[in-house]
Amino acid sequence: MNQLIFISLSTLTIVSALFMVFSRKPMYSVLSLIFCFFTVAGHYILLNAQFLAITHVIVYAGAIMVLFLFVVMLLNLNTVADQIKTMGFRVAAMIGAGMLFLVLLASLKSTTLGTFSFPEDNGMGMVEHVGMRLFTDYLLPFEISSILFLSAMIGAVLLAKKEKR
């Protein structure tokens, strides 16, 4: 049963991710990416990270995908963009993809094939525990993230707002 849930969830994740990459229509790509995010949230629940799962759904599937949709709609989709197909671009893409492949291969070498079983739940991923850790041990990253928010807000306003003269 555990194995079945894990395998079907993983299959859905990989298929939707592949559909996102290979789809020719940007809207279909975005929608399948949303689906992919939901299945990844399912993986988080399988790993007993409940708070992370619901945050993932709210932030990624909800908020970030709105931004993705907006970016797609900001582009002019009437004209097909001419793709860059120079020799240097192809070589660079080949080297980049090859390096990623090597990294994946190296990580695959060190893994051992096992069966999936649900990890024991000790309340690690529940919101109380995450909150306690966040506000005691990881206080500095939390406060720094507010600076990150501040810079993102200022950057967005600066880029998107016309200065009045």
Partner: protein
Amino acid sequence: MSNSIDYVAILIQFSVAVGFVGVTLLTIRFAGPRRLTSDKLQSWESGIESVGNARFPFSIKYFLTAILFVMFDVEVIFMYPWAVNFKSLGMIGFVEMFLFIGTLLLGFGYIIKKGGLTWD
């Protein structure tokens, strides 16, 4: 303590919701009569004549509003684990959150001052 297997109910509910939409759409497609005339294929059959198509770039003002929404959306998520532990964290937790919200309020003040949310 809950276990991952408890979430199967949510999974079932989710698939019922998705399945209902899918089955309805398929039923409409196969059960209903289809007469594809040019009038019937319009987006708003009895409404205003549509001009152009939907694939045109729109104003960045919408994007600015959306990205500012995302900022405050994520901020509220940080408040959730704080609110759950509000009593045990006590005064220190309050000060921590005050610093966080204060920094964000600074940004909010900047947005308001620059007119980021006004629609000119």
